[in-house]
Symmetry: C2
Subunit: 206 residues, 2 copies
């Protein structure tokens, strides 16, 4: 279990470091510096050094960071050096796109259950999976021990789905529905709402 | 043009306030308080009051905020009291899902151009749009005066697409490709990468 005292803002930057380092690794770059990494992702070198120092000593003074070593360390810190099963609720257009998104598997996230409440969708095939009846999800997800859920249903049913996921023991929810979710303490929610991101930019286009 | 001196972190919270207030409006709630709004989205009442005070006086002491008035004000501040045309590049699964996502239109974001470089996709229909040849996008987007782009191509072609969009005069890019983009100053990029969001939660699932 990770130290809860590290501010979430620090934790939230680690996946971006990991992503950039994985690209370096893929490009055959073996060592890097906080400066180079920072230039790549638009974060200051000082910030990167400070963030990483909260978790240990990963670089050698004047020698920079070993890319593959730092990738491994970050994967371990973020608990992504393993596979996570995911239950996806909502088998519409977005659910389809997500089920087909190969980057999830590449990063150890495997959508293994897909649910919907629409009788027209239950039993249909998405990739190698069959859409299951949402009425059974609490029992099935609990039995499978799945801890990560994704919500791709319309906004007006998202809270009800979140409640079910929590009941099933899910502790992390990626919510694509454009609505804020209320969940008990200890359950994490991240939001992917393109409207919010667009509006954060139109502010500057006035 | 908006005051660039307001910290981006403040700007970035405004769309979440707007979203919650729009839900209230939809539910027939006419007045609210920073406390109620804060409880809804998990931000402190003091933070909300402080953020809003940067843009003016929107509430009356002890009387709270008029929901529809505050919605209008936030829409104006965020420049979303108008329509924005969007050029979408990448007509694969994700591009399809986005082109069908009705919430964009509801919020004034209209995907009016869809591009791809795959001859198998060029000329195919997505909803009411025909996929156009990406080779023509710089001229066409510039001519149409489109300022907002979305990238839904694979990571290895995302930077090249971003360069073209910038050449075409696009000033705001919503990037779904899992890679950091380098753009000139004055161009805004927001990232939607589900892997990053999942990894921000698995940290806590150790």
């Amino acid at each position: 279990m990770n130290d809860r005292n590290i501010p979430h803002i620090v934790v939230s930057r680690l996946p971006r470091y990991l992503q950039a380092l994985e690209h370096m690794l893929h490009d055959g770059i073996h060592t890097t510096s906080s400066q180079e990494l920072g230039d790549m992702i638009g974060i200051s070198a000082a910030q990167i050094r400070k963030d990483l120092s909260q978790f240990g000593e990963f670089g050698k003074q004047g020698k920079g960071y070993g890319v593959s070593f730092l990738v491994e360390q970050l994967q371990q810190i973020l608990n992504v050096n393993r596979h996570w099963e995911i239950a996806l609720v909502g088998a519409g257009n977005l659910g389809h796109a997500i089920a087909h998104y190969q980057d999830f598997n590449k990063h150890g996230f495997n959508v293994t259950m897909i649910y919907d409440s629409d009788p027209a969708l239950i039993g249909t095939q998405i990739g190698s999976y069959v859409v299951q009846n949402a009425a059974n999800m609490v029992d099935e997800i609990r039995k499978a021990g799945i801890k990560v859920g994704m919500i791709t249903v319309p906004a007006n049913s998202a809270q009800a789905v979140a409640d079910e996921l929590v009941k099933a023991g899910v502790q992390a929810i990626l919510n694509y529905a454009p609505i804020n979710l209320n969940v008990p303490e200890g359950v994490r929610v991240q939001y992917i709402d393109p409207i919010i991101y667009l509006q954060r930019m139109t502010y500057y286009l006035g």
